[in-house]
Symmetry: none
Subunit: 220 residues, 4 copies
């Protein structure tokens, strides 16, 4: 958690620090992204950074949680509630993709961060890193199971894992298939990325179809 000095900053400055840091951590791994570079790009004094954040790790953890929250909040607002599980799941994926398309910096950062298990040594990271989307999906699955939207022979833990995995990686699929060049665009600050919403919708349908029939309750 950043020190209170950080939050006392004018929000414009806060955002600038966040954005610059995100960009560095988005294009380099935790170790390679250096505070020295961030500080140079930001223009703020190096000492100041240490008045805002305890150390590099704290900054990083803050960014991860910041990104997670941004995405979760966006999805929460954008996804239309649906009674039926798969309809909602579709909304989730769609909203998530929309977020990724309009927030490529954060998206790229999350892609980079996702599986850097060794980024932060000597800490039980799960305690430091929020995963609201993951928990949300977990709840969703359980509710769906109770409502009999999901076949009863499906293991909910496994279902959660699979759905979560797909949710997190769907944009990576789009990125590769449509050559969005997320990496370069982020480094050059060229965004938003151009991909018509219809294309996204179509791909979302493809995915949901694939998942839905697999999880859905049916009798044959």
């Amino acid at each position: 958690m950043p020190k209170k000095t950080f939050f006392n900053l004018p929000s414009q400055k806060q955002n600038f620090i966040i954005e610059t840091s995100l960009r560095k951590f988005a294009s380099l791994n935790y170790t390679a992204a250096s505070l020295s570079q961030i500080v140079k790009e930001t223009g703020i004094a190096k000492g100041s950074m240490y008045q805002y954040f305890e150390d590099k790790k704290e900054l990083y953890i803050y960014l991860v949680n910041y990104a997670n929250d941004m995405k979760f909040d966006f999805i929460s607002e954008e996804a239309e509630p649906q009674d039926e599980f798969f309809a909602f799941y579709r909304e989730l994926i769609r909203a998530g993709s929309l977020f990724d398309l309009t927030h490529p910096l954060i998206s790229r950062f999350q892609l980079n961060v996702m599986q850097q298990p060794a980024a932060i040594e000597g800490e039980n990271n799960s305690e430091l890193l929020s995963n609201r989307l993951g928990e949300f999906i977990e709840n969703l699955i359980h509710t769906a199971k109770e409502h009999n939207h999901i076949a009863d022979y499906i293991d909910p833990g496994m279902a959660t894992f699979v759905v979560n995995l797909q949710t997190m990686n769907f944009f990576k699929y789009l990125n590769e298939k449509y050559n969005l060049a997320l990496e370069k665009n982020v480094e050059n600050r060229e965004y938003p990325l151009p991909l018509p919403m219809e294309t996204v919708e179509m791909e979302v349908d493809n995915l949901v179809k694939l998942v839905e029939v697999g999880l859905r309750w049916h009798n044959n």
Copy 2:
């Protein structure tokens, strides 16, 4: 590609270098894993390392390909050929899990590597990194589609992506669910990891069931 000096080494020494390097890159990201440390642990002279590999990047790429090949070869031998797609997919996952359980070092390394997009800068990595398993799965899907094992409304690219994703991440699921503590076990060289094969088989069934019904051709 390592220099021939490396391959001239007694295979025991080769393996020791590979194993030590794998362990470092398995527990730290590309940048944080330092040649100095590897060299110190190996006991060989720093200069010698550069007689074997052009530079750090070459060592890393070699390890990635080495690990991929090891896993692919293992699966190739272990998985019983099956005419039916889902039966074969099941075999694939099972064999892959078996590999992960018996080669936790490589497994952990691959988990770490998988999504470190920015590890190696300034190179078109896809040309340097083999992905035989990925290509294999791609072929599998296409064949399955031709044999009508997969519903015709399923997008093969999407199916490949999803199946590949699950194949690569399945062991991560096991690791978390059964607290295999892959990270610590690898660092302490405590393996193999204990997980009865029946448990693995059961989980494999869960996954395949989930996927199968989603992809399988059926009429309702």
Copy 3:
């Protein structure tokens, strides 16, 4: 150009850094003179050096320009203006020799630097290295030609080259002829070098005589 950090240093410390660096670069070539050694002799932290100068090359270029400027300024002050070209040329050489005798460290450094064409690779060095003395001499020659101090059949470019060459190397001649042992004296910090001014004046006369009659307009 050094960073402003360097110029913010107390001038005593600046001078110490300059002198130590000059000494190293004076007795070893660009590559052999190492920052590690300089830093060790200076007593400052290695990291600090990089707060003052971008890199080794920048330090070196700074020193070259520093030395050139020192000598030029000294000569500018010391040489008595003369209307007649050869009288002025004599003053130039005399003042230059005086500088060399009283600033053996810089003198030795310049001797060492002069023809190390490949010291700094990949750069158009002429843009980075000032040559005020050279330009000054070039002007001098042209003016002299206009004033008919120099025979009209003399090629001014050639004359500039020759005069420049002699100006730069005259002290080397003294050094060898009188065994000044510039090299050792500099390394041991034993200076100023002892050579009576009358001797210098005599040698200057020898040189100027040689040059003068060659360039002067005369009718035979």
Copy 4:
């Protein structure tokens, strides 16, 4: 002096080693030019190099002497003997320039070497490095003085120094004036350098005129 193993080599191989080494030492200073690189470019085994030469220094000294001798021998053959000093001096310069134009590799090497005082530490280099051209010029001056070709008020040591200086640097003048790009041509192995002999002759005349009238006895 190289070991006898070197001279036992087929002369083609000898020459290849010499040429490759010359090129490296021509484009980099003594320290920066590494045996490792030379050996790699030559294709011979690193150990072999140490069977031919005691160490790096011995190779370097051998090259310097080799180059000096080559140039001296060439000039000896090419320059037409002349009774009169200035006519001979003219021949010397002309032959030297011809050598430089037709042997740019050696020429560049010599330019680079000339004033690298600190190249070889801890040795009295003058004992190791031959300077036949310098001694030749010294003799020439003394003879000329005896023959009254040179004014009697001219200091012979000074005259030797000046003439030597000009002889050694004349090609550098041509190189700069006519943009011969000696550096790049040598590194790319693009030679001989194109400069018509008439141009050279003209420039030689310019220089000799300048020197001659300055040294010649005349009565005004």
